[in-house]
């Protein structure tokens, strides 16, 4: 590893003892010997297997559910429906007061996406659970569905989620998150060029090698130990406590060992229903997603649409930027209202622009609920912004890297969301990139600094 100490040398206390030194990872010896205990490496005598019956429709009313044949299937111990879940309607971020509760643990009267959990079957073997699940009879009345965000926002679109009452998340700022800085229309009026482009992305599945799941063991004293690969232990514990109406002291969560997460394991999906199964049967319960479920059921990164309108001067300065962002939450909120909000703060990018207008919408559609994934709310926005930067540079005939130096934010600059820039390092990163990639820029840019005035 190489540390470039020439950057920030005059402002850094150069007393680094750990950074730059290779240190052994504490978890590696377990990984290379196969001794690391992932959740599925635990098994208990008498352990039941949980399989989920899922909606084959994108949007449908449930007229009736008949579990009688499944209950008679050899090896079946328990069949769970919505009425068995003490607090069936929840939302993960209620813990930080981001409501309303809008998602069912098991569907109650309606399904809003293809793959939604409706009935849970607990059996002695995985195979028995699977076979019994196939015997559950659900009578659906199929409803019109909407899959496109702009269609969903039109008047008369099918209502996806009644708990919201409209197909967007209602922020305290209204139908979208808003950032207003300077006078964007005046900025456009004075610009030499205007460029408006729209960018779109599809949902992206994390596809961790270890699928989502948990193993729950009743401790015999009305306490339950849940071995899980969640990336959000306390979110999961607290939400489980709400859903099962049990004090957190009855729940012991063991985890932190995750066979690949990338944000895909921060939702609270498998644990509450598995713990409920263990509570109602008194038996250990294993609920592990199949590979198919991991790909089709687990939350992906949201599909996004980003419309960017920029006003730019011939000398390279961006003088106005207007962004409208749409985040496809799918049928339920999960972490998407937060992701869309994060986008609003991020959209000007690491550039100082005097006039900025941003609206970001969190939209509900009948698609698989989306949620966290590496930099969600920001990553797709960055893709759009940087493609836009290249297009702007081409429009005014400027080198794309030099164009970024001209607009790069620097310490002391006010960002559009009213946080002064501190600790910026974009210019230094670009200088190093210029050298490494052998993409030369004018000497004045190589002499710039993120923090030295006048440089």
């Amino acid at each position: 590893m190489e540390l470039r100490k020439n950057y920030f040398a005059d402002v850094r206390k150069d007393d680094l003892h750990e950074i730059g030194q290779p240190r052994p990872r504490s978890d590696s010896p377990g990984h290379v010997t196969g001794k690391t205990a992932f959740f599925a490496d635990r098994s208990f005598p008498g352990m039941l297997h949980l399989k989920m019956v899922r909606s084959p429709h994108h949007h449908a009313r449930i007229r009736s559910i008949d579990t009688s044949e499944a209950e008679k299937h050899p090896g079946v111990v328990k069949v769970l429906t919505a009425k068995d879940v003490p607090h069936n309607v929840y939302t993960i971020l209620i813990l930080i007061q981001i409501g309303p509760e809008d998602e069912t643990v098991l569907a109650d009267g309606k399904v809003r996406w293809k793959g939604e959990a409706v009935v849970a079957v607990l059996a002695e073997t995985e195979r028995a659970a699977q076979e019994a699940a196939a015997k559950i009879k659900i009578d659906y009345e199929v409803l019109p569905a909407v899959f496109d965000m702009e269609e969903a926002l039109k008047p008369g679109a099918p209502l996806v989620n009644e708990y919201h009452g409209q197909n967007y998340y209602l922020y305290d700022s209204g139908e979208c998150r808003k950032v207003r800085f300077g006078d964007v229309e005046a900025g456009f009026a004075g610009a030499d060029h205007i460029l408006e482009q729209s960018y779109q992305s599809s949902p992206i599945e994390h596809a961790p090698t270890e699928t989502t799941g948990c193993v729950v063991a009743p401790e015999g004293n009305d306490r339950f130990t849940c071995y899980t690969n969640t990336q959000a232990m306390f979110f999961t514990l607290d939400n489980t406590s709400i859903i099962l109406q049990m004090p957190g002291s009855k729940l012991h969560f063991v985890g932190g060992t995750v066979g690949g997460g990338f944000g895909g394991k921060v939702d609270v999906i498998v644990e509450p229903i598995a713990i409920l199964g263990a509570k109602l049967t008194g038996r250990p319960v294993s609920f592990v997603y199949s590979r198919e479920e991991e790909m089709q059921i687990s939350s992906p990164r949201a599909a996004e649409k980003v419309v960017i309108k920029d006003g730019v001067m011939k000398d390279g300065r961006i003088v106005a930027r207007k962004v409208t962002g749409y985040t496809d939450a799918g049928a339920y909120s999960r972490h998407s209202p937060y992701g869309a909000q994060k986008g609003a703060g991020h959209y000007p990018g690491p550039y100082t622009i005097p006039n900025v207008w941003i609206d970001t919408y969190c939209v509900y559609t009948n698609r698989t609920p989306s949620s966290a994934m590496r930099g969600f709310g920001v990553t797709i926005g960055d893709f759009a912004l940087e493609v836009q930067m290249d297009k702007l540079a081409r429009l005014i005939g400027m080198d794309p890297l030099e164009f970024r130096f001209i607009n790069a934010y620097r310490d002391g600059d006010m960002k559009a969301h009213r946080q002064p820039t501190e600790g910026a390092a974009l210019i230094e990163c670009m200088q190093e990139a210029s050298r490494t990639a052998n993409w030369p820029v004018a000497e004045k840019f190589m002499a710039m600094s993120s923090y030295r005035k006048g440089a």
Binding site: S28, K35, F38, A207, T209, G259, G260, R291
Partner: protein, 160 residues
Amino acid sequence: MAKIPVQFTLNGSEKAEFIDSGTTLLNALRDKIGDTSPKGGCHQGTCGACSVIIDGELRLSCLTLAETCNGAAITTTSGLAEGGVLHPLQRAFLDTFATQCGFCTPGMIMAAKVLLEHTPNPSRDEVVEALSGNICRCTGYEPIIQAVLAAARANSQNAA
């Protein structure tokens, strides 16, 4: 359902179990015998996390029926360290930071072990080819390739 007897050696020790017909070797190893070092990532032969060595050949234990392994010699990653001393591949994976989440690691080590047995001094391309059936979704392939090359160098130095 009538059970089927199956007997094989696992990392040098005799194992005998009664299993249901159709049980995969992966499930037999993990659920019956208690060796959880092979991992179930896809249960359909695409991820390589369940890789084991059967009679010297690299095999996907999720696609291998346990009942076909009678009399076989099976090696898993949990059996590589001898007397608490790590196998050169395990040492190399540690030293080159070739693990991230660790879920693919046992399968990677199995694939690498079979490669080095057949090709003690592989080229980089041969290492890439040998690991091509093993998915690392943390995408830490480069340190894994370096680990295998380092283990090959360590082996040839020891042999010299």
